[in-house]
Amino acid sequence: MKDLAEAALNAAQIKGAAYADVRLDERVQQDITVKNGQLAAVSDDASEGFGVRVLVDGAWGFAGSARLKQDEVQEVVERAIRIARASARARSVPVDLGPPVTSRGHYRTPVERDPFTVPLTEKVELLLRADQAMGAVKGVTIREGSMEFIKQTKVFASTEGAYTEQELYESGAGIEATATSPDEVQNRSYPNSFGRHQGAGGYEYITALELDRHGQRIGEEAVALLLAPQCPSGVRTLILDASQVALQVHESCGHPTELDRVFGMEAAYAGTSFMTPEKLKHLQYGSPKVSITADALTPTGLGTFGWDDEGVPAQRSFLIQEGLFVGYLTSRETASVLGQQSNGTMRADGWNRIPLIRMTNVSLQPGDSTLEQMIAETKDGVYMETNRSWSIDDKRLNFQFGTQLAYEIVNGKRGRMLKNATYAGITPEFWNSCDAVGGKSEWQVWGLANCGKGQPPQVAHVAHGAAPTRFQNVKVGILK
C-alpha cells in the first residue's frame, strides 16, 4: 500500500501537481436480511482501489481505479493531471488550501467483538427470533429484519507529508413490522427507520439493541395504527422522540452548515443554504435551549474517525451555541475562503470518489428535561416517533416530516394513538420555538447511513446525538 501511495505522489509531482493526495481504500461489507420467517438475503461484498486528487494551475483533477498495480498508478495519475489541466481552462478562482496538513498515525474503531468473526448462524438466529416475535402478532403482514457490517481500511498520503492509516468498523441492525388494510399501509420499526440503526463498533452494538425484545411491541403498534384516527390538522405543541430529532438536526442544521453548499458548490444538485456567511454570529438560529455541535470524537458515531479524507484530525466544534449560529462544517478549500482552518469534515464514499464536506456527528446537546416531564407540562399537543417521510427545500428552510407513530397529548397525559402524523415548518422559526430538550439519560447517538450528496452521487454514513425535544406552535397533520 505504502509503495503505491508513494509512487502516485511522486508521479503527480513530476507531472506538475502543486499538491496531490492519494487514498487507498479496501472495504468489505456483509448484509443479511430475514423476511417473513425466512432468510431472504445474505451477501458479502468486497471492493478495493485507489484515487488520486491533484491540484494543477489552481484547479482540481481526480481519477481512480480498482487495479492496484504500479502501471495503473502511472496511468491514473496521468489521467488526473490531464483532467486538472482541463479544469484550469475553465476555473473561476484558484484553489487555496491554507496551511499544510502533515498528520501521521494509525486509528482503529474501538471494537469489542469483530463482527466478521461472529458466526453467520448467530446473526441469523437473532433476526429470526425477532421475526418470530413480530409474527406472533395477528395482523402483521410483512416482517423484515436486517444487519449490516462494514470494515474499511484506508490509507491517506499527501505531498505535504501526511500519512495516515485507519481501520473503521460499522455494525447495524433493525426490524420492521408492516400491517395493511384496503386503504392503509402502516409500518413500525425498531430502533429506527431507514432499515437499520447503525454505529461505529463491533457486534456488541448489535447485542445491546435486544432486537428480539422489541418485535412483539412494534408488531402490535403496526396493527393498532390501522384502526387509529388520523392525526388532526392544527397548530399544536409538538414533542419529538430522539430519533426524529436526530433527522431534524440532520436536515435543518447539518446540511445548511456545510460550507460547500453555502458557496454554491452543490447548487445544481443538493442545493444551497439559507445560512450564508453574513449571518454567522448574527443569526438567532434557535432558542437558547438549542446548542448543536459537530464532533468526530463521539463514541459509536458513524462520523467518528481519526482523520478526515484530507488528513485533518477529528475534532469538535460548535455550529449553534445557545441558539446563535456560530460555525460551519468546513474543508481546507472552503475554510481558507473565510480565513479559517478546516474542522475536518471531508469524507469520500470510497476510493472512487473525491471527499466532500460531510456531517460528522452533528448533535443537539442534551438539556435538562425528560420526555415524561415534557408531556406532563403540555396541555394540547402531539408526540411523534420514528421517521416515515422527510422532505426539505433546497435552501433547507421549508420542511415537512411524517412519523410512523403519534399520540395526542391532552392535559399533560398521553391520549389516543394517531396515524399518518406529519408536521411542517420553517427552520429558524421551528428551532426558536424549542422550549425543552431531554437530558443526558435520554440522549442517544443515532446513525444515519443514507445521506446523499454530490455528483456523481455519494452516500455518507453520519450520526446525530439527540434526546426527546419539544417545540411550540407547530403546524401538524397535513393530511385530511
Binding site: D45, G61, A267
Partner: protein, 447 residues
C-alpha cells in the same frame, strides 16, 4: 493524448471466457455470475467555473450460488483468476453456513433483442471536450449577468450475465448527461439533457433554456398555497413516474398489499398511458434484466386503467407466471423495478398547455420528493427553479417555490391535456423515463 481517454472495457470474448470459467469451477448446483464494468468521467461546475472534475474505472463481479436449497451471494471488484476463486468460495461458504430459505429460481436461456446503445464519440469524450462544453455554458451565463452551476458526464459500461442453466447475455452502452442551474441575484432556472451519443447534447440549446428560465424567474413573490390547476414540465412528470414505479408498479408491492394499483380499475384520466419498455431505442434500453431475463414491454396504465405490473423471477414464481424481465441484482428483497418508463404523448403543443388556464401554476421541476402515503399514492416535495403564475392563459410572473402534498393518481385523474412532444429524462441511478408535459386540473400546494 486522446488515447488514454477512450473508455477501457474488457473485450467481450475475454469477459465471457472469464464468466464461463467461473461457472465451470463452481461446486454449487446452480450458479449465476453478473459482471458490470464501467469507465466514466464527470465535470462539475459552480459560479461559472469548473470546481470538481473526476474519472473512475471499476468493475463488479457478483456471484450467486444455490447449494442444497440455500443461496449465497458475494461480490468483488477485481476480474482475474484469484478474484474469481475468492468470490466463488465466499458465495459457497455463505450458502453452506445458513439455514434453508426461499430459493429464487434462475432463468433458462432465452434470446434477447439486440439494441444499439453505444457511441464511440461518448466513449472517447475527453476532459478538454467536457471543459469546452462547460466553458460555453458559463460564458453565456456570464454574458447575461448570471452564474452557471451543473455537471456534465460521459461514460461507457457493459453488463454481462451468465448462469449454469445456459444464460449468457452481454450488452454495452454509453451515456452522456448534463444538468445546469443558472442563478441571478434573485432566482434561478434549470435544464438538463441526456443521450447515448454525446454529440446530441447541444450546449446552445441547453444554455438557451436554462438562461431564459433563470431570467424569467427573478424576484418571485409568494402566492397563497391551495389547490391550483397546473402545468407540469417533463422534469416534474418524470419524477412523478419514478415515484409511481417505486411505490406501485412492482408485483412485490402488489403481492404485499402495498401498491396503489387496482388491476382492471380506472385509476387515472383516460388519456393517461404509461408503460415500461426496455428495448425501445427512444429510451435508454437494456435488453435483459439483472437476472438475465429478456425485457418485455409491460403496459402499466392503459387508457387510465391499471393494466399490468412488472415481475422478476421471485414474484413470477409466487404468481405462477413468467418474469417480465424487471429483476434487480441478487440478493434482492426490494422486488422488481420498472426502469424504462414511458408516458404516451397527447396532441397539444407544449406551448399551448397553459392557454386555457384562467389561474394556475406552471411547475418546472420537483425537489426532494418523498412518499407520504403509499396506498393513496400521496407524495410531498417542493417546486424548484421555475415556478410561475398562469393568468388568463399566459405566464405572468414567477412565484416563490411551493410545497405540494398530493396523490399522484388523483392528480392524473384530472389530466386535461398532454403535450405532443416528449423528453428523455435519464435517472442518475438506473434507467430513464420518456415523458410529455401535462396539464392537470387540481394540484394541492400545502405551504
Amino acid at each position: 493524448m486522446k488515447s488514454i481517454e477512450v473508455a477501457r472495457l474488457t473485450e467481450e470474448g475475454e469477459l465471457k471466457r472469464f464468466m464461463v470459467g467461473l461457472l465451470q469451477r463452481s461446486p454449487a448446483q446452480q450458479t449465476e455470475v453478473m459482471v458490470t464494468e464501467w469507465d466514466s468521467a464527470l465535470t462539475r461546475f459552480a459560479n461559472n467555473g469548473i470546481h470538481q472534475n473526476v474519472a473512475e474505472r471499476d468493475v463488479s463481479v457478483r456471484v450467486r450460488v444455490v447449494k442444497d436449497g440455500k443461496t449465497g451471494v458475494a461480490s468483488i471488484n477485481q476480474m482475474n483468476e484469484s478474484a474469481a476463486s475468492d468470490v466463488l468460495n465466499r458465495a459457497v461458504a455463505i450458502a453452506e453456513l445458513q439455514p434453508k430459505g426461499e430459493v429464487v429460481p434462475m432463468p433458462g436461456p432465452a434470446k434477447s433483442q439486440r439494441v444499439e446503445t453505444w457511441s464511440d464519440a461518448t466513449a472517447s469524450a475527453t476532459p478538454e471536450e467536457r471543459a469546452d462544453f462547460v466553458e460555453a455554458i458559463c460564458a453565456r451565463a456570464k454574458r447575461a449577468g448570471l452564474k452557471a452551476f451543473g455537471a456534465y458526464s460521459t461514460g461507457a459500461e457493459q453488463l454481462a450475465i451468465a448462469n449454469s442453466l445456459g444464460v449468457l447475455h452481454h450488452h454495452r452502452s454509453t451515456k452522456a448527461t448534463v444538468n445546469s442551474v443558472v442563478m441571478g441575484e434573485a432566482g434561478s432556472g434549470y435544464a438538463d439533457r441526456g443521450a447515448i451519443d454525446v454529440r446530441q447534447l447541444d450546449k446552445n440549446d441547453l444554455a438557451d433554456e436554462v438562461i431564459d428560465k433563470a431570467q424569467r424567474n427573478q424576484n418571485a413573490q409568494p402566492i397563497e398555497p391551495g389547490v391550483y390547476e397546473v402545468v407540469l414540465e417533463e422534469y416534474a412528470v418524470a419524477e412523478m413516474l419514478e415515484f409511481m414505479s417505486f411505490t406501485g408498479f412492482s408485483a412485490l408491492a402488489a403481492q404485499e398489499d402495498r401498491s396503489f394499483m387496482r388491476p382492471g380499475e380506472r385509476i387515472t384520466g383516460e388519456s393517461v398511458n404509461i408503460w415500461d419498455d426496455g428495448v425501445d431505442p427512444s429510451g435508454v434500453p437494456t435488453p435483459f434484466d439483472f437476472e438475465g431475463v429478456p425485457k418485455q414491454r409491460v403496459n402499466l396504465i392503459e387508457g387510465g386503467v391499471a393494466s399490468g405490473l412488472v415481475y422478476d423471477m421471485q414474484t413470477a414464481q409466487r404468481a405462477g407466471r413468467q418474469s417480465t424481465g424487471h429483476g434487480l441484482p441478487a440478493p434482492n428483497t426490494e422486488g422488481p423495478f420498472a426502469v424504462n418508463l414511458f408516458m404516451g404523448p397527447g396532441t397539444t403543443p407544449k406551448a399551448d398547455l397553459a392557454s386555457d388556464i384562467k389561474r394556475g401554476i406552471w411547475v418546472t421541476r420537483f425537489w426532494y420528493v418523498r412518499v407520504v402515503h403509499p396506498k393513496a399514492s400521496i407524495i410531498t416535495g417542493m417546486t424548484r427553479e421555475g415556478t410561475f403564475l398562469i393568468e388568463n392563459g399566459r405566464i405572468t410572473r414567477p412565484v416563490k417555490d411551493l410545497r405540494f402534498t398530493q396523490s399522484m393518481l388523483d392528480a392524473l385523474n384530472g389530466t386535461l391535456a398532454i403535450s405532443q412532444s416528449t423528453k428523455l429524462e435519464i435517472s442518475e441511478y438506473l434507467g430513464a423515463a420518456r415523458v410529455p408535459a401535462v396539464r392537470l386540473k387540481a394540484f394541492t400546494f400545502t405551504s
